[in-house]
């Protein structure tokens, strides 16, 4: 499975994007987000970017006010996931230009489209920025 979910949450703990690769009910999502966001927000910068939670791990990275949290299985390479987050941010940056929290909020579907290209079935399938962005650019042109 690898990746179980990808969350973007701001410093106040408000969810800005949520994508789950295993089905959780609304209640479960709510509880999970509350729990792990509290855990991650409580940590300082010197500490690891990884947190163990129940039977999986959360790899998180903070950009300005926004936290990117990725829940992964225990055998996943944490550093690689950390860099995967950065790749995602770089990709969004290339598309939006100096991407910020608002860009994601206003263009939630585009952020999701990028994720759909990068991750399928909880595995990283595409890491070329050009390949990730080309469907979105084509759609923009078409409509």
């Amino acid at each position: 499975m690898g990746i179980r979910f990808i969350l973007m949450v701001n410093k106040q703990g408000q969810t800005r994007l949520a994508q789950y690769y295993e089905w959780l009910t609304l209640e479960e999502r709510r509880a999970l987000e509350g729990e792990i966001v509290r855990k991650c927000l409580a940590r300082n910068e010197q500490q690891c970017s990884f947190v163990e939670h129940r039977n999986y791990k959360i790899v998180y990275r903070r950009y300005a006010s926004l936290f990117f949290l990725v829940g992964v299985d225990n055998d996943e390479n944490e550093l690689a996931i950390l860099e995967f987050i950065h790749l995602l941010v770089e990709t969004m940056d290339r598309h939006f230009g100096n991407v910020c929290e608002l860009d994601i909020m206003f263009h939630l579907e585009k952020a999701h489209f990028m994720l759909e290209e990068m991750v399928m079935n909880g595995s990283i399938v595409e890491t070329s920025k050009a390949n990730i962005l080309s469907p979105i650019q084509l759609m923009e042109k078409a409509s």
Partner: protein, 966 residues
């Protein structure tokens, strides 16, 4: 003025192609963004739900408007509220002709619905249609949905089309089709078992993206069945080699590493394939060694690949040279300032330690630093390492540490895990029984309710069986020390239930055994327990049985029994208890007290918990009784084996008369209560004499059904049944005896299990205690060296370096990184040159492409070799035109000055970037702007928008909307 700017920004956002957004949507997003608390956010969303409920049901909504509503629904669900009223509209939107609207519809559907939702059936049709579309983007959108929405039952509906799409001319479609197949495999391996060869085929795809995606299913396939994929070792190695040699298009590079995510996946697969296979491993040594050399250990991604190499090396057949490289990499990790790298180092150490245990010694101080680090994640990882390196020489120190940590944490999940690890280590390596009991007491005391009940039973057995080889005096010493410690622990408030059960059992069994404590003292304690934990039935049951044992031992010893007044009141209470189990135990106690010494001794012998209980499975003692019943006209018992034989057609008639066995129990269950009332008490005492002397804790539950048994076969019942159900009685009547079978089976279950294994290396108990005590009182910090010595065995002879010696001063590391960045930009330049040279070189491999398009007959390895070269060729012809300059630009555009951007300086970005305050942020954005000219306007606009939205610097979160990458 500022308002105008905001409007400009909004217009700019609204006008982005078809991603049109109305004022209403912008307002919603803004108000959500401005919400200061969860309550406020909830209020906004609840209002939005009301609005949307009205809006979505209006007729003739323009599709752009509808798309926006659906996105607002996505918001509603994302923020934790139910938006199910709008699901159907999302489903409808997937039918739309416009690609963007359709894809948004699919997106919403995948976010809203799980694969078993009722609406899925409506979507399957659309998916089928879209999979046939001419527009490959529509096909891709449908395949995305397939991955998320198709369940086991709907797989056949789309499977043929997905298989066809594996050969689609567009690589994006092939990639997604592979992943859809992967999904089917995950959902129901049998449904695609005949298609698994497609994964092998796609590994040789011309497109590196498809190849990379194919690694995901292959990884899963290999991990379930390694042996079927050994033939692919050479292919994987050759792919990895080509990736490491930068033969993939530059678009796959990430921070100057060639396709690191693909490398990592390949290393994971190789680790599986090479595990315990010398021949396969030998094929991998060269390429893994190459990667070790090539990895740039100054970047995060380089270290990620290095870490994966270590994992691979520690999994495959060991190779001394690679192990050395791995050890080097680990020590670099551990000496790093970054907690992330330390974490990876500790993890890697735990993997390598199995192969070369001596490696831990040189890192002992680093490990202890991590153990004492305030960072919980690091601490846990280190405990995991300690767990892996526990031996009989260091078990005491490690388990002590674990228990201290276990006591300090609140997270139940982890508490359970660490408690079970303590138990496991203690069981495996315990130097003495005393120590074992002490450790178990601590575990039970602090995590009792989280520990598996079996652990308690094991401990009971250990106390009962003692050491086995030793003489009885050692055993009784062990028991009395256990009794002592438990009486002491009973003084504590709030003891976990499992622990109380254990304590009650031990006190009942051995409380008065050595004569140190009087029966009245122990019974007093037991009734205190029963009273203090009056809402725990199990504990009460254990306490009553323990009381009975104490009294029985007293009677057997010829002493007069005086029941304490509190015991008496307790008994009265239990005799009227709602719990039949408690009631029964209380009656049993009453009955036992009334018996004479001889009878008591035979039903409740002292110290007999380890004796085998002889069970008369044939129940011969009932023979006379049965004879009587039959004479009085009861049906004889027909064994189950004969009853099932009745299913034969020849016996059909017979069956008609005597009834089918399968339903018999059902009827009896309804009839039973009536007679149990009639004949309850005498049988209960009867049962007690037979079954209760089993002091085994497991018998607690099993003894329960025995009460009913004799009553069920009583005379009164059979006659009564006859009266009430005369027609049916003929059919089911002989079932009266079936409870007897259930008795015998329940008693036969009580086998005394195997002897617990305790590592019998009884190294001087007294010294154990001494070290334990001294450790408790001495300051940990000054003891670091000693701790290291006790953990790692060696007397800390190596590594005299002070702990601070690891810390490379920050400025110097910066210098290193700077120089590295310059070097790498030069590298890029040279690579650029190389790229110019590449195409003609690659054109030589042009021919194999043709060869590869007629695959089945060709040798797969050869095919693969041929195929990957074309890949690069494809990349450099097509991608060189579009992608490569792009990515080059990204790096050449940002020369010298920008290495405080994340790309180059990872370490500092990790530790410093988040600290950015207004001042630091401003400077860094300026740098970014100077490198990215056209964006300045954008960020200015954003700034003003932010201000417009009420996020002034005075607000609690001044950099709320600061550029993410600034």
């Amino acid at each position: 003025m500022e308002q105008l700017k905001t409007i400009g920004r909004e217009l700019a956002m609204g006008s982005q192609g078809g991603f049109y957004q109305s004022k209403e949507f912008l307002d919603l997003v803004k108000s959500i963004g401005e919400a200061r608390s969860k309550a406020e956010e909830d209020r906004i969303v609840l209002g939005e739900i009301e609005t949307l409920k009205r809006r979505v049901s209006e007729p003739d909504i323009p599709k752009r408007k509808m798309k926006e509503y659906i996105l607002r629904l996505v918001y509603v669900e994302m923020l934790g509220h139910d938006a199910s009223f709008g699901y159907i509209h999302a489903v409808k939107m997937t039918h739309d002709d416009s690609l963007l609207v359709k894809r948004t519809g699919y997106l919403a559907v995948t976010l809203f619905l799980n694969e078993d939702h009722d609406l899925i059936i409506l979507i399957v049709n659309t998916i089928q249609k879209d999979l046939k579309s001419d527009n490959y983007l529509v096909v891709c959108a449908a395949l995305n949905a397939v991955c998320k929405l198709i369940n086991e039952e709907t797989i056949p509906a789309v499977l043929p089309q997905v298989v066809d799409l594996l050969a689609h001319p567009k690589e994006a479609v092939r990639k997604k089709a592979i992943m859809a197949l992967h999904r089917f495999y995950q959902k129901s391996p049998s449904s695609v078992s005949h298609l698994v060869s497609n994964f092998r085929k796609r590994l040789c795809d011309n497109d590196p993206g498809v190849m990379g995606a194919t690694l995901c299913p292959l990884f899963e396939l290999v991990s379930t069945d390694v042996n079927s994929y050994k033939d692919l070792v050479i292919s994987f190695v050759s792919i990895l080699k080509q990736v490491a040699e930068r033969r993939l298009p530059k678009a796959y590079d990430y921070h100057q590493m060639p396709a690191p995510f693909i490398q990592i996946k390949l290393l994971k697969i190789l680790a599986l394939l090479g595990s315990g296979d010398k021949q396969a491993s030998e094929n991998m040594y060269t390429v893994v060694g190459d990667i070790f050399r090539k990895c740039d250990s100054s970047s995060n991604i380089g270290n990620a690949v290095l870490y994966e190499c270590i994992c691979c090396v520690s999994s495959i057949y060991p190779n001394p040279k690679l192990l050395e490289s791995a050890a080097d990499a680990i020590s670099r990790f551990l000496k790093s300032d970054s907690h992330n790298l330390k974490y990876m180092g500790i993890d890697a150490l735990g993997r390598l330690i199995k192969i070369s245990p001596e490696i831990a010694e040189q890192h002992q101080l680093a490990v202890i630093d991590c153990l004492e680090d305030p960072d919980d994640t690091l601490k846990r990882k280190t405990f995991e390492l300690l767990y892996k390196m526990t031996k009989s020489t260091n078990v005491e120190v490690i388990v002590d540490r674990m228990i201290d940590y276990m006591i300090s944490i609140n997270d139940n999940h982890y508490k359970t895990e660490i408690a079970s690890r303590c138990v496991e280590l203690a069981e495996q390596f315990a130097p003495s029984n005393q120590w074992f009991i002490l450790i178990m007491n601590k575990v039970f005391e602090h995590a009792g309710d989280l520990v598996n009940i079996k652990v308690a039973h094991n401990l009971m057995r250990l106390i009962a069986e003692g050491f086995g080889e030793d003489d009885d005096s050692a055993d009784s010493q062990l028991r009395s020390s256990a009794v002592d410690s438990y009486l002491h622990i009973l003084g504590e408030p709030k003891i976990p239930s499992v622990f109380l059960q254990l304590i009650c059992w031990v006190l009942g069994e051995y409380g008065t055994a050595d004569g140190k404590y009087s029966a009245s003292y122990i019974t007093g304690k037991l009734s205190d327990v029963a009273e203090a934990y009056s809402n725990d039935e199990t504990v009460k049951a254990y306490a009553v049985t323990a009381l009975m044992k104490i009294y029985a031992f007293e009677i057997a010893a010829g002493r007069k029994v005086d029941m304490l007044p509190e015991c008496q009141s307790l008994m009265e209470q239990f005799l009227a208890s709602h719990s039949t189990d408690l009631q029964q135990r209380a009656y049993e106690l009453q009955a036992v007290i009334g018996l004479d010494a001889h009878a008591v001794e035979s039903i409740m012998p002292s110290d007999a918990s380890c004796e085998d209980i002889e069970v008369d499975k044939a129940l011969s003692f009932l023979n006379g009784y049965i004879q009587d019943s039959i004479e009085k006209g009861a049906q004889p018992y027909i064994p189950e084996s004969e009853r099932s034989g009745m299913l034969n057609i020849s016996n059909f008639r017979n069956q008609d008369h005597h009834g089918a066995s399968s339903h018999g129990l059902k009827f009896e269950a309804y009839e039973l209560p009536k007679q149990t009332v009639q004949s309850r008490i005498p049988p209960a005492t009867l049962a007690s004499t037979e079954f209760v002397p089993v002091p085994e804790p497991m018998s607690v539950r099993e003894s329960y059904p025995t009460t009913i048994v004799p009553s069920a076969s009583s005379d009164a019942e059979s006659t009564e049944l006859k009266l009430r159900l005369d027609g049916v009685q003929k059919k089911w009547g002989r079932q009266t005896h079936s409870p007897a079978t259930s008795t015998s089976s329940s008693t036969s279950k009580k086998t005394v299990n195997g002897i617990k294994q305790v590592d019998g290396s009884n190294t001087s108990n007294s010294s154990t205690w001494e070290t334990y005590d001294s450790r408790k009182h001495v300051e940990i910090n000054s003891e670091k060296q000693k701790l290291a010595a006790s953990l790692f065995g060696g007397s800390s002879k190596t590594e005299k370096k002070p702990a601070t010696g690891h810390k490379i001063s920050k400025p110097s590391s910066h210098m290193v990184e700077k120089s590295h960045v310059r070097k790498s930009s030069m590298e890029i330049a040279s690579e650029k040159k190389a790229l110019v040279h590449q195409p003609p070189d690659l054109l030589d491999f042009g021919e194999p492409t043709v060869q590869s398009s007629d695959p089945p007959s060709v040798d797969p390895f050869k095919e693969l070799e041929g195929l990957l070269e074309p890949t690069t060729q494809l990349g450099s012809t097509a991608a060189a035109a579009t992608n490569s300059p792009d990515i080059m630009g990204l790096f050449t555009e940002t020369p010298g000055g920008t290495h405080n951007k994340d790309d180059s300086d990872i370490l500092s970005s990790l530790s410093k970037q988040p600290v950015t305050n207004m001042v630091g942020g401003a400077t860094s954005t300026q740098v970014a702007q100077s490198s990215k000219g056209p964006n300045r306007k954008d960020s200015l606009e954003k700034d003003s928008l932010v201000r417009q939205m009420g996020v002034t610097p005075s607000s609690p979160n001044p950099n709320l909307f600061k550029d993410l990458l600034g």
